[in-house]
Assembly symmetry: C2
Homo-oligomer: 187 residues x 2
């Protein structure tokens, strides 16, 4: 939410009401929740919702913003970990589990990655990419990641798993599988 300065007080209050209602409704019904119902719950007209959030995508980004910031903070903590390979793996699992649990987070990230929208610096995808890059670099330096694997690859993979499972533990299992590969490893 950059430039929040210029919002009039009533606009700002409605913005917050809408996000609060959206958080509750998305938790209950997933990312396909009715925007009309969210507006109704927030006590605003549907036009107001559409004015603040021109697309469903925009609203979802606001809804998941806190969660994504949490993941970014976690990435920052893990940057100092002793085992960079494990740190990266742990973080990717955490992202997948959050995406699978918070139904729609994955879809949200995914869409923001593909749509003709400039990935603004506050978008979920950009934030995660940024936070994860450090972990990947360290893992690569430690010889724990192939050099040709990019952060985009990893985020897409993790989003994919989130999208497909929407179930925490199983999402973690699949991410582990993708990290380790299916061959009987040296480990």
């Amino acid at each position: 939410m950059p430039g929040t300065r210029s919002l009039r007080s009533d606009a700002r209050r409605n913005y917050d009401l809408i996000v609060a209602a959206a958080v509750a409704e998305v938790a209950r019904s997933g990312a396909e929740a009715s925007l009309e119902k969210i507006a109704r719950d927030a006590g605003v007209g549907s036009a107001t919702l559409h004015r603040h959030f021109p697309s469903r995508q925009a609203l979802l980004e606001a809804v998941f913003h806190d969660r994504v910031e949490g993941l970014c903070a976690q990435a920052r903590e893990l940057t100092g970990a002793a085992d960079p390979g494990r740190a990266l793996a742990d973080w990717l699992r955490a992202v997948a589990v959050h995406g699978a649990t918070a139904r729609g987070l994955a879809a949200s990230l995914l869409a923001s990655g593909r749509d003709p929208s400039p990935p603004s610096s506050s978008s979920c995808e950009f934030m995660l990419h940024d936070a994860g890059s450090m972990l990947l670099r360290r893992a690569r330096d430690a010889g724990a990641a192939r050099p040709e694997v990019s952060m985009d690859d990893l985020l897409t993979m993790v989003n994919a798993v989130s999208l497909a499972t929407e179930d925490g533990p199983y999402a973690a299992r699949l991410v582990t599988l993708a990290i380790e590969g299916i061959h009987p490893g040296p480990a």
Copy 2:
């Protein structure tokens, strides 16, 4: 389409018209295509479409049936291949690419795996599971796959990638990544 016997001739003709229209429309607009439009294009009333296909899922399964059969046939061919590990990998890539290309195939498979629908023996998911199991068994026997990796794991992973990419070559790349793992391998 088991039990097609009992369909009256006009019903059968409409069934085929609907599937044909659906194939075209899904190719154009993806799996979220309007069912009303499909019915209109097929020249039938929307009620007729809903009578033949009680859910979007049911229609999509019919739409992708041929494609899935092709993949199953490919699996059967690959069963005799010299390198079982490579055969499995090739097939998984093929499934991912088809799923990503035929927009909605992945979503179709996915939903059929999670919904409260008994995976009928003709469902996409069942057919692919069946066909792939042979390849996985051979790969495992050849020491090219960890024993704890299941066909469900692999299909979910491949569907996930299809869902997330909808782009052939990149889907293949991600599947390869998942198969090999991200660590610098012995290969």
